[in-house]
Symmetry: C2
Subunit: 132 residues, 2 copies
Amino acid sequence: MFTDADRELLDLSGFARMATLMPDGAPQLTVLWYRRVDDTLRIICPASAQKRRNLERDPRVAVIVEDPQSAFRFLEIRGQAEVVHDDTGARAELVQIARRYIGAQAEAYAAGLSADPRVILVVRPERIIRHF
Amino acid sequence: MFTDADRELLDLSGFARMATLMPDGAPQLTVLWYRRVDDTLRIICPASAQKRRNLERDPRVAVIVEDPQSAFRFLEIRGQAEVVHDDTGARAELVQIARRYIGAQAEAYAAGLSADPRVILVVRPERIIRHF
């Protein structure tokens, strides 16, 4: 699904911006850390987050990832996100994700999180629009 | 509608990320230049753009604007966007917008655009979610 050029961009440490759908169908947007795993993106959020509630009602999602050096060089990924309720797995995944952004501070960051359960969002692309 | 702190963030030269709704209701996302004018954001795009077609079918929109120095300091704006079909006005507005990002090169940039008609998107906030 992802080309070599996609993977190169996705494995830089840009942020993801993700759109989900509110109960009335209106869009909702957030800025997120993520990590590419094979042909998916992994994102961690609290189980209490609006985006988690949105995705369990309607899994359709759009995500853009930009080149951190050049925001107009970006991928738009449209697809569906699965919500995985696995707090232990989510915290382990978060260390991997955080390492992309804050390197050796990732463990300390993850250890300092609140006890609120975390979930893993697995974004599966159905269409990729390349702006590069 | 915008507070002083909102205006301060919006008048920095960060980019906007805007979500619109595709014909089937799924979200669509792009990266854009913008300019705040009073309590609205102004964005220019070609009349042929998917987001223009989306907004004329369903004007609901979400826009995030981040502090260019710190992406997790951001505003999420949910509201509606009006599409103004005024190519001359759009090109004049684009010079104002471009000046925020490329300064004195704005006129040359706008003069070099293709002849495809441009439209002005006027984003009117209904709810503002502050991540700062």
